[in-house]
Structures are given as C-alpha cells and as structure tokens.
C-alpha cells in the first residue's frame, strides 16, 4: 500500500513538472491607466491559449519601467514614452528594449452641464489650470468662479495633462486633487463652476466635454474616439508595451493578439482608442 502511494506521488510530481515546463508564463507591470486593458486582453488570450498564464499588476508607468530594468517584469506597460534617462539606463546595463504601441487614450476636458462655455484653446486651459484665469467670464462664460479639479500627483494622467496641456507648468495650489477619475466626474457634475479632465471613456452624460483647440482658436475639435483615431483631437496619448528583445519569442504572440482585430475590439469596448 505504502509503495503504491509513493509511486503515485512520484508520478504526480513528474507529471506536474512536465506540464509546468510546457506552460508559458510571463508578467506585465506598470501604468494603472493601461492596467484594465491589459487585464482584459490577458484574460481573453488565456481563454484562447490555455497553456499560457499572464499576471498583470499596476503601480504606475515609472514603476513598470524600472521593474523591466531590474528584471522583475517581462513587459512594462506605460502610458508615456520611455524617458531619455530611462533609455540611457537600459543602454548602460546592456539591454535592448522593444517598444510597441498597443492602443491610444484620449483625455476629455469636462465641465458642468449648466456651463455655457463649450470650447477652449490650449492657452486658455493652461491659464485655468495654473490659476491665472479664475473666472468663467474671462473665457466667454458667465460671471462665476472656476473650480479646478485634478487627479492626484501620483497619477500618470496628471503627468500627461501637465506635460501636454500645461506645458509642464505646475497646477494651481487651489486645484482640488481627487483620488479617482470617478470622483472627478461626480464632483464636476454637481459643481457649477467646475472643470476637470478624465479619460475619454469616463466622460458620461452627467458632464459636458469641451471642444479643444491647439492652434490658438482656429479649429476646435470634439473629444470622441473617431477624432482621437485620426489624430485631429490633440489631447491623445499612445499606450506602450516595452519588453526586452531577448524574450521576444515568449511575448510576441500576446502582443500580436492585442494588435489583431479581436484585441483591438477589446480596446474599443473598454473605452480606449483603437489603433485602426
């Protein structure tokens, strides 16, 4: 009897070791903006390919890229391009990195439904978010104080908005920093003089999305997926995957899946902007 149990155990161990070696597994880490998308893509991919296991975690773009450098993740998901100093570090440690744009994300500038203003230029947005413009009448609205809502400083969305809309200037100290995108939508919908920014998918019917102009007021563009896809809407950013070229064979099928029609359909249903 004892012998029987022993041999079964040995067989089981051998079997599990064998099946383990057949299994492909890798990790994705980084941006919280890309996180929900990566999770859905990974779930669908694992459903199609049962021998692959993918674990996805967040932590921020910077965290993901430094994990790629230290070798604790296989793919770094990032909502911004790798900075020149990060690339420098990669070069210094002798690692070659591949960059893939997997989808795009657009930010809507939102105001209260009762606000008469429906379009702003980039310069006006900069003035409002840095605190130089503090009343709606200065930008064609009624005589009403402007309440600025922003994400917390730790958010990648905050950094993106600061870089691309505020020209790297600092937000006004009086800006209200909210812990989540949903909280911004909620607050803007119930505060008359409010303005905020959220991912395109989050701007629902309870708030109004503004048209934005990046050419000093010549053309104002609506924030929607079509305009973001053909690049006419200016507050759009690509979402990246970074991985080491040495493990390309392992991760390539997954990346190809995201870029396929099925993968891009998931991008669209999640409210991100598909590439095609």
């Amino acid at each position: 009897m004892k012998k029987y149990i022993l041999s079964t155990a040995v067989l089981l161990t051998l079997f599990s070791v064998f099946s383990y070696s057949q299994k492909i597994s890798f990790k994705i880490k980084g941006s919280d903006t890309v996180l929900p998308l990566s999770q859905l893509e990974a779930e669908q991919y694992m459903k199609n390919n049962s021998n692959t296991s993918i674990s996805v975690t967040g932590g921020g773009s910077g965290v993901g890229l430094s994990a790629l450098l230290s070798g604790t993740t296989d793919i770094a998901q990032s909502s911004r391009k790798m900075k020149i100093e990060e690339k420098q570090k990669m070069i210094d440690s002798g690692k070659a990195v591949k960059e893939v744009v997997i989808a795009k994300d657009a930010l809507s500038v939102i105001v209260n439904l009762g606000n008469k203003v429906s379009q702003l230029t980039r310069e006006q947005l900069e003035g409002i978010f840095t605190g130089k413009i503090s009343n709606w009448k200065e930008v064609g609205g009624e005589d009403l104080g402007i309440i600025v809502y922003s994400r917390e400083t730790s958010s990648g969305t905050y950094e993106f908005f600061k870089e691309h809309v505020l020209n790297k200037k600092n937000f006004a100290t009086s800006a209200l920093l909210m812990p989540a995108t949903g909280a911004i939508v909620q607050s803007v919908s119930q505060t008359k003089g409010a303005i905020g920014y959220v991912g395109l998918a989050y701007a629902d019917k309870s708030v109004k999305s503004l048209k934005v102009s990046y050419d000093k007021g010549v053309t104002f563009v609506d924030a929607n997926i079509a305009n973001a896809m053909n690049l006419t809407y200016p507050i759009t950013r690509p979402l990246y995957y970074y991985y080491l070229s040495s493990i390309e064979k392992t991760v390539k099928p997954f990346v190809d899946f995201i870029l396929s029609a099925e993968g891009q359909q998931i991008v669209r249903t999640e409210g991100y902007v598909p590439l095609k």
Partner: protein, 399 residues
C-alpha cells in the same frame, strides 16, 4: 507533579514576558523607522536622484533655492538679474530640449555623442540653465555645477507650497497640510463630543431597556461600515448639500470632512462613555436621589464627575480616529493644499496626503522621506493630544 506545575507556571510567565517585550520592541522599532526615514528629508536635496543643475561658467549666480527653480521652470521668472546675475534671459536646457534639438543620428545610437553636444551648447550660451545627470556631461565639463540648498527646517514647516512632484525641484511646504489636518480634526471633535456625550447619557440614564436594546446595536453598526462607504456617502450626499446650504462655489470643504469624521467617531465615543457612565455605583445614585436631588442634578453632580475619566478616554479614542482617518477625508475635503481661512474651504490633510502619494513615491527618495516626515508630524500631534489628556486625568486624581 509539583515540578511540572512549576514548569508550566514558569513557561507561562516567560511567554507573557516575551509577548509584552515583542510588542514594546515592535512599537519602538516602528517609531525609530518613522523618525530615521522622516528626518532624512533635511539631509536631502529637493532635486530628485542623481540630477544636477548646471550653468555657463561666466554666470555669477552661485546658488538657487527650490522655490526659485520652480519659478524659473514655471515661466514666472525669466531673467538672471532676478537672482543677482547679469541682465540676460534664462534659457532652459534639459534632456527634452536635447531630444528636440538634435536628431538620433547626431546623438549616436547609444547616445555616445550626447555629453559633448550638451557641453558645447552650454559653453555657447551664457544664459543657459541646464538640468542633467552627471552621466550626461563629459568628464572635462566646461560649465559650472550649481549647488542646490537642502530642504531646510524653515522651508519644511513654514513653506506654503506643497508641490512634491514638481520637476526639477520639488517644494515641500507642510504648513497648509498641518493646518488642514488640525482644522478638520478640531471641527470633528466640536461636533462629535457634545452629540456623543448627550447620546450616551440618554442611553445610560434616561432611555428604557427596550429602547436601549434597539439603539445600542444600531450605533455599533456605524463602526462596522468601511470608511470608503462613508467617503462616498459624503461625496454624493453631504458635499452637494453643503454647497447648496451655504451657497458655495464648491462643496468639498473642511466642514464636509469634519461632519463625516464626527459620524465615524460617534460609535467609539458613545459606546465607551456609555460604559463609563453605567459603572457609576447604584448606591451613589440612590444616595443622591435620597437627598432630594432631581434626576438632572444627579446626572450633572454625581454621574458625570464619577465617570469623567471614562468620558475623557472615549474622547481621546474619538480624536485619535479623527486625526488619523484617511479614506473618507480624502474623498470629501477636496485636497487642495491651500491654507484654510474658514470651514467652508477645501483643505488637504496629512493622512490623505500620505495615502494618496506614498504609492508612487520612489522608495528612499526625497518625496518618500518627506511623506515620512509628515508621519512624524502626525505622530507628534496625536502624542500631544494624549499627553494633554493624561495631564487632565492626573489633575483629577490629585483633587
């Protein structure tokens, strides 16, 4: 047998001793960790990591503070004569400008030509202010490295601007955060203490047994609700209500935070003070009533003085919860780091700041240390509260 019993006794004793020692050591260790990480802020430069600021060697400016750097990069100050230099406009030069100015070929596949390009640009432009790491500069660098003053005590405690991720130099002024925390907590105490005390008196002395049996579990239920739920309730119900009632431009205010915290502290205050009030011996109460005192006189003159220390303990625990509470406050106070002048303004509290920022602050960096230093301030605030209460108690015993 006797030996065995003795051995058991000895073991129990040492287990008890060990667990109390472990607890003490753990507490001391945490306090040590907090202080060692937090105090490091005063030995750190507000410029992140290995970055340095460089200027042309003919530039007479010898030092810039974090605030001055922020003003320059914000575009508020654009000329060197505002910092004691020559009348010459400031040209900002960072890796982003390098990327715009030179093509990938010019910099080389592995950026091997970058240091010399940077060096020659700085040498050619006397008004340049560069922001690079040491690796970006050649070994025979022609310019001047500008020292950045460390974060000073004065800047940290009296600074009015909290820009923890502002590049290149962050600003760590904690005054708005400290005042915001005190503002919200004091408001919460002012609301919660009288209500809590009255409710506990009612439940212990006036309500009949049947009513008490319904009330008590209901109030204790309040303590079991997760703070995020309170926060969301505050954001959706309380914030618009405050905005409409006081006709404010924005409803996320210190008052909203105080009310939510007061509701959250109520179960603690009520339960503990009620228990304290109920410990008043029946003989004392009966003696008072027998002397002809009314029920009200008995409550004020006999019951309240007798249960004073318990009520004080209840309020400390309530205050403790109010000062340290994070999530609910994070959602309803607006978190704007401005110095509050009234309860009807947005404020940013210390716990909310730590919770919102610690996740993305690089381990061991300046921002990380600044958040731990905020933790020290919070620790000192609660410590002061506790000491005050201990003093009050000691005074009572003397009497």
């Amino acid at each position: 047998m006797k030996l065995f019993r003795k051995a058991v006794e000895k073991t129990t004793e040492s287990v008890l001793f060990l667990s109390s020692t472990v607890t003490t050591i753990a507490v001391l260790f945490i306090v040590y960790f907090l202080f060692s990480e937090g105090l490091g802020i005063f030995k750190s430069s507000p410029v992140e990591g290995t970055f340095i600021m460089v200027v042309n060697k003919v530039n007479p400016v010898v030092e810039l503070s974090a605030k001055e750097i922020k003003d320059i990069f914000n575009g508020d100050k654009t000329n060197w004569d505002q910092f004691g230099g020559k009348h010459d406009s400031i040209i900002l030069f960072t890796l982003t400008e390098v990327g715009d100015m030179f093509t990938e070929e010019e910099l080389g596949a592995n950026y091997e030509y970058m240091p010399s390009k940077i060096d020659s640009f700085i040498t050619a432009n006397p008004g340049v202010l560069g922001y690079f790491t040491k690796n970006n500069l050649p070994s025979d660098f022609q310019g001047k490295i500008l020292p950045i003053s460390n974060v000073s005590l004065k800047e940290f405690f009296l600074g009015r601007e909290w820009y923890p991720t502002s590049a290149p130099a962050a600003l760590y002024g904690t005054l708005p955060l400290v005042l915001g925390t005190l503002w919200v907590s004091i408001g919460a105490i002012l609301l919660a203490l009288p209500i809590g005390l009255i409710t506990s008196l009612y439940m212990a002395e006036i309500a009949n047994e049947k009513l008490r049996r319904i009330l008590k579990p209901l109030i204790e239920l309040l303590a079991g609700i997760p703070s995020v739920v309170y926060g969301f309730f505050g954001l959706v119900i309380l914030v618009p209500f405050i905005q409409k009632t006081f006709n404010l431009p924005v409803g996320e205010t210190a008052l909203a935070g105080s009310i939510i915290l007061a509701i959250m502290a109520l179960p603690t205050i009520i339960t503990i003070s009620e228990d304290a009030i109920r410990t008043t011996p029946v003989s004392l109460k009966e003696a008072s009533l027998a002397l002809g005192a009314t029920r009200w006189q008995t409550i004020v003159r006999v019951i309240l003085p007798y249960s004073r220390s318990g009520i004080i303990a209840a309020s400390i625990l309530g205050i403790g919860r109010a000062v340290g509470e994070t999530m609910a406050v994070l959602m309803v106070t607006g978190n704007a780091s401005v110095i509050p002048h009234s309860f009807l303004q947005p404020v940013r509290t210390i716990p909310a700041t730590i919770a919102a920022e610690l996740g993305e602050a690089p381990y061991g960096g300046v921002h990380f240390k600044a958040l731990f230093a905020l933790g020290i301030i919070l620790f000192l605030i609660t410590f002061t509260f506790n000491t005050l209460v201990e003093l009050a108690k000691a005074k009572k015993i003397k009497q």
